[in-house]
C-alpha cells in the first residue's frame, strides 16, 4: 500500500475524538451527550474540546441519569437528531438498560420501519486500568443477545475512527464499546481511507495451526500470544472480530476450516459470553473440520475483582497460551 499522506499517528481515544469532531462538523444533526462530556471533555478526554468548538447546544452535559440520557436521546432521534451518548463507565450503563432494550432496540420494528433511531451509545469498557468496582466490566453479551441493537468494539485507532464514523451514519442504534485500556495506544489513522464494512471481521495475522478470535482490548493480547507461539514454532491466525452483533461467522468459519482449531478470548465472563455463541455456531458450521472443541478464555463467573486481583482474573498471555496448548493437544 502506498504511504498515506493524510495518515496521522493517534492514540485510540484521540481517534474517537477526531471522528466525533468530523461528524459534528459534517452533520448539524449530530449531537454528543453525557455526563461531563463538556468542559471536562469526559473523564477519558474522548470529547475534549468539542463543546468549546460546537457549543453547549451540540455537546451537552446532561444531568446524572443514564436512563434520562438514553431516553432523551431517543426523543432527539425521533426529532431527527443523531445523538452520540456517552456512558461514563461500563458499570453505569445499567440504569439505561431498560431504555436501551425496550425502547431503543425495538422502536424500528415496533413502528414497522417508520421510525429510525440512529443513536450511538459509547461505553468505555473492560479492565486492566486498576480501577475501583464497576469501572472494569465487559457487558457486551447483555447487548448482543438483544435484537435491534448492533454491537461493535474497535481494537485500534484506525478502526476506532472509522467504526465511529460508520456507527454514526448507521440508521440503527449502535452500542460502541471502547477498549479503555487501549485508549492511549497509538496507531495510524488515515482520514481519507475508504473503510471496509462495519460488521466485517479482519484477519489480523495469518496462521495455519489454530485460530485466535477476539475483539476490542483482547486483540492486542492475541497478537502477543501469536508472537510467543511463533517462537515455539506454532503458527496462529488472529482474527479481530470488530463486531459482536452481527458477528461475522463467515470469516471465522473460513479461518477455522483452514486451522481446524479455535480459541476465543474475551474479558467478559465465559459463562453466557460471546465465546459460547461463537463456539456453538462454529461447531455447527465446522463440525467435521474441528480437531478440538472450541476453547474459551475469559473472565470467571465472579464479579470483576478488586484491582489487585485483576491480573489473575483477566485473560493474559499465559492463560491464552495454556488454552492454545490444550487445543493443540487434541
Amino acid at each position: 500500500m502506498a504511504a498515506d499522506v493524510t495518515a496521522k499517528n493517534l492514540p485510540l481515544a484521540k481517534a474517537i475524538n477526531e471522528s466525533l469532531r468530523r461528524a459534528l462538523e459534517e452533520d448539524p444533526k449530530v449531537l454528543v451527550m453525557g455526563e461531563d462530556v463538556g468542559k471536562l471533555g469526559g473523564v477519558f478526554r474522548v470529547t475534549d474540546g468539542l463543546q468549546k468548538d460546537f457549543g453547549e447546544d451540540r455537546v451537552i452535559d446532561t444531568p446524572l441519569a443514564e436512563s434520562g440520557i438514553v431516553g432523551t436521546a431517543i426523543g432527539l432521534a425521533l426529532r431527527g437528531y443523531r445523538p452520540v451518548v456517552e456512558i461514563q463507565f461500563d458499570g453505569f450503563v445499567f440504569p439505561a438498560y431498560d431504555q436501551i432494550v425496550t425502547q431503543l432496540a425495538k422502536m424500528h420494528a415496533r413502528s414497522l420501519g417508520k421510525v429510525k433511531l440512529p443513536v450511538v451509545v459509547r461505553i468505555p469498557y473492560g479492565g486492566g486500568i486498576g480501577a475501583v468496582e464497576h469501572h472494569s466490566e465487559s457487558p457486551e453479551s447483555l447487548f448482543a443477545h438483544v435484537s435491534g441493537l448492533k454491537v461493535v468494539s474497535p481494537s485500534n485507532a484506525s478502526d476506532a475512527y472509522w467504526m465511529m464514523q460508520q456507527a454514526i451514519q448507521s440508521d440503527d442504534p449502535v452500542i460502541y464499546f471502547e477498549p479503555k485500556r487501549r485508549y492511549w495506544d497509538k496507531g495510524e489513522v488515515s482520514t481519507e481511507a475508504i473503510p471496509g464494512p462495519l460488521h466485517k471481521a479482519r484477519v489480523v495475522r495469518e496462521g495455519t495451526d489454530l485460530t485466535l478470535a477476539a475483539y476490542g482490548p483482547m486483540v492486542k493480547l492475541c497478537q502477543e500470544v501469536a508472537d510467543a507461539a511463533a517462537e515455539e514454532g506454532r503458527s496462529l491466525e488472529v482474527l479481530d472480530l470488530r463486531s459482536i452483533s452481527p458477528l461475522d461467522f463467515d470469516t471465522v468459519q473460513a479461518s477455522v476450516e483452514k486451522t481446524r482449531r479455535l480459541v476465543v478470548v474475551h474479558e467478559a465472563p465465559v459463562f453466557f459470553g460471546s465465546g459460547a455463541e461463537i463456539a456453538a455456531r462454529i461447531t455447527e458450521r465446522c463440525f467435521y473440520h474441528l480437531e478440538a472443541p472450541v476453547l474459551r478464555v475469559g473472565g470467571y463467573h465472579a464479579p470483576y475483582p478488586p484491582a489487585r486481583l485483576e491480573e489473575e482474573y483477566l485473560p493474559g498471555l499465559d492463560r491464552v497460551l495454556d488454552a492454545v496448548d490444550r487445543a493443540l493437544a487434541y
Partner: protein, 405 residues
C-alpha cells in the same frame, strides 16, 4: 346508537352530584405500626383545588385564570368537543365488544376519560407532538389517527399500526413511563431547531412513580424543554389506588423540579382544554414544562383482562358516573341552546357508522405474513437476521414439499 345507549353498558344512577367533591381524597392508612403519625401527615397536606369550568350539572363557572383560554369558543366548537367525546366513547365501546367477540386479544378502555383526552388533544396544534400511553384513543382521534389503526396491536397483528410522523402522534408505549423521556428529548430537539411547537406526554397516576418520569421532569426543567406532562389520574393503576402511589397530590410533584403543576377536573372537557392550552402556550413561548394532573376516573376495567370487582366497590364508579364528562357537556349544550334535536340524531347516525366501520375494518384485518417476524428488526439489515430468515424460508418450504407429495 346514542351516547346514552353506549353509556348504558354501565349501570347509571341519577343520584345528584356530590357538588365538586372530586378534589377530596380520604386519608389512607398503610397498615404500618405508625398509622397515627402517618394519618396526621396526610391530613395536614392541604387538599388541592380543581380547575373546573363546567360543573357536573353542566353549569359554566367562572375562573379568573383559565376562562381566557376558552372565552372565544364557539357553539360549533363546543358541539365538536361533544362529538369527539361521543365518537371516542363509541369507538371504545366497539373495541371492548370486539374483544369479547374474540376479534381483539385485549382492549384498554378509556371509558370515563373522554373529557381529559379530548380537551387536551384539541388543545394541541398540528405541529405539536404527542406521546401517548396505551389508552389515549381520544387523543389519537383528535390528532386524526384513524381509530382502526389503533386496533392492530390489540388484535396482535402489529406492535403499532401507524406512522407517528403522519399525525405527530407517537406509537403507544406499554413500558410505563418510558415515553416521558422520549417526549422530553423531542422537546429538547424543538428548542434546538428554534421551532415554536410543543410536546405533550401522557401518562397515568401509577406511572408517576417510575424513575423515568422523575428523570423526565428533571431534564425538562433543566433544559427548559417545551413539554407538557399530562397525567390522567384515573384513580387506579390496575388494582392500586392513588395512595399506594403517592403521599400527596400528584400535580404537586412538579414544583420540586421547578415548574408549575395544576390539577384540572379531567371530566370537564372545557377545563381540560383551557388548562392544556395554557400549558402548551407557555411551553411554545419558551417558558418551559408544566404538569397537568387531570382528575378523572377509569370507569371500566383496567383492560379487558382485568376484573375490578376484586379491588374496588361499585359505589365508587356509581359516584363518578354522576360526573360523566359527556353528560355534563350535553347538559351545558342543552341549557345554552347550542344544539337541536337534529344534532343528536345526526351524531347518533355518525356514531353508528363509525361502529360499523370499525367492526368491519377489524374483521378484515389480515394476519401478517410470517416473514414479518424478520422485517424491520434493523434499518440497515443484519447478517444473522438474513440467515435466520433464509432458514425459516427453507423450513417453511419443506412443509410445502411434504404437502405437495
Amino acid at each position: 346508537m346514542t351516547v346514552e345507549s353506549t353509556a348504558a353498558r354501565q349501570p347509571r344512577r341519577s343520584a345528584g352530584s356530590k357538588a365538586g367533591t372530586t378534589g377530596t381524597k380520604a386519608a389512607g392508612t398503610t397498615g404500618t405500626k405508625r398509622t397515627t403519625a402517618r394519618t396526621t401527615a396526610r391530613t395536614a397536606a392541604a387538599e388541592p383545588e380543581l380547575v373546573q369550568l363546567l360543573t357536573p350539572e353542566g353549569e359554566r363557572v367562572k375562573n379568573a385564570e383559565y376562562d381566557r383560554y376558552v372565552d372565544g369558543i364557539t357553539p360549533e366548537e363546543l358541539r365538536g368537543l361533544y362529538r369527539d367525546m361521543v365518537l371516542t366513547r363509541r369507538f371504545d365501546a366497539e373495541a371492548t365488544a370486539l374483544q369479547r367477540q374474540g376479534e381483539l386479544g385485549l382492549w384498554a378502555s378509556l371509558l370515563g376519560q373522554e373529557a381529559a383526552q379530548i380537551g387536551s388533544g384539541r388543545a394541541t396544534r398540528e405541529d405539536d407532538y404527542v406521546f401517548p400511553t396505551y389508552r389515549e384513543h381520544g387523543v389519537a382521534w383528535c390528532r386524526g389517527v384513524d381509530p382502526t389503526n389503533l386496533l392492530g396491536m390489540f388484535r396482535g397483528v402489529n406492535n403499532g399500526g401507524w406512522d407517528p410522523n403522519e399525525n405527530n402522534f407517537h406509537l403507544y408505549t406499554i413500558v410505563i413511563g418510558s415515553q416521558a423521556l422520549h417526549a422530553t428529548g423531542y422537546a429538547m430537539g424543538i428548542t434546538k431547531d428554534g421551532a415554536d411547537s410543543a410536546v405533550i406526554a401522557y401518562f397515568g397516576d401509577g406511572a408517576s412513580s417510575q424513575g423515568d418520569v422523575s428523570e423526565a421532569f428533571n431534564f425538562a426543567a433543566v433544559y427548559n424543554a417545551p413539554v407538557v406532562f399530562f397525567c390522567q389520574n384515573n384513580q387506579w393503576a390496575i388494582s392500586e389506588s392513588n395512595e399506594k402511589q403517592t403521599r400527596v397530590p400528584l400535580y404537586q410533584r412538579a414544583q420540586g423540579f421547578g415548574f408549575p403543576g395544576v390539577r384540572v377536573d379531567g371530566n370537564d372537557v372545557l377545563a381540560s382544554l383551557a388548562v392544556t392550552r395554557w400549558a402548551l402556550e407557555r411551553a411554545r413561548r419558551g417558558e418551559g414544562p408544566a404538569l397537568i394532573e387531570a382528575w378523572t376516573y377509569r370507569m371500566g376495567a383496567h383492560t379487558t383482562s382485568d376484573d375490578p370487582t376484586r379491588y374496588r366497590h361499585d359505589d365508587e364508579r356509581v359516584a363518578w358516573e354522576a360526573k360523566d364528562p359527556i353528560l355534563r357537556l350535553r347538559r351545558y349544550l342543552e341549557s345554552a341552546h347550542h344544539t337541536d334535536e337534529g344534532f343528536f340524531a345526526e351524531l347518533e347516525t355518525e356514531s353508528e357508522a363509525l361502529g360499523r366501520r370499525v367492526r368491519e375494518a377489524v374483521r378484515a384485518m389480515q394476519d401478517p405474513d410470517h416473514f414479518a417476524i424478520f422485517e424491520n428488526v434493523y434499518a440497515d439489515g443484519h447478517a444473522l437476521v438474513d440467515e435466520e430468515r433464509a432458514q425459516f424460508a427453507a423450513y417453511q418450504a419443506s412443509f410445502a414439499d411434504v404437502e405437495g407429495v
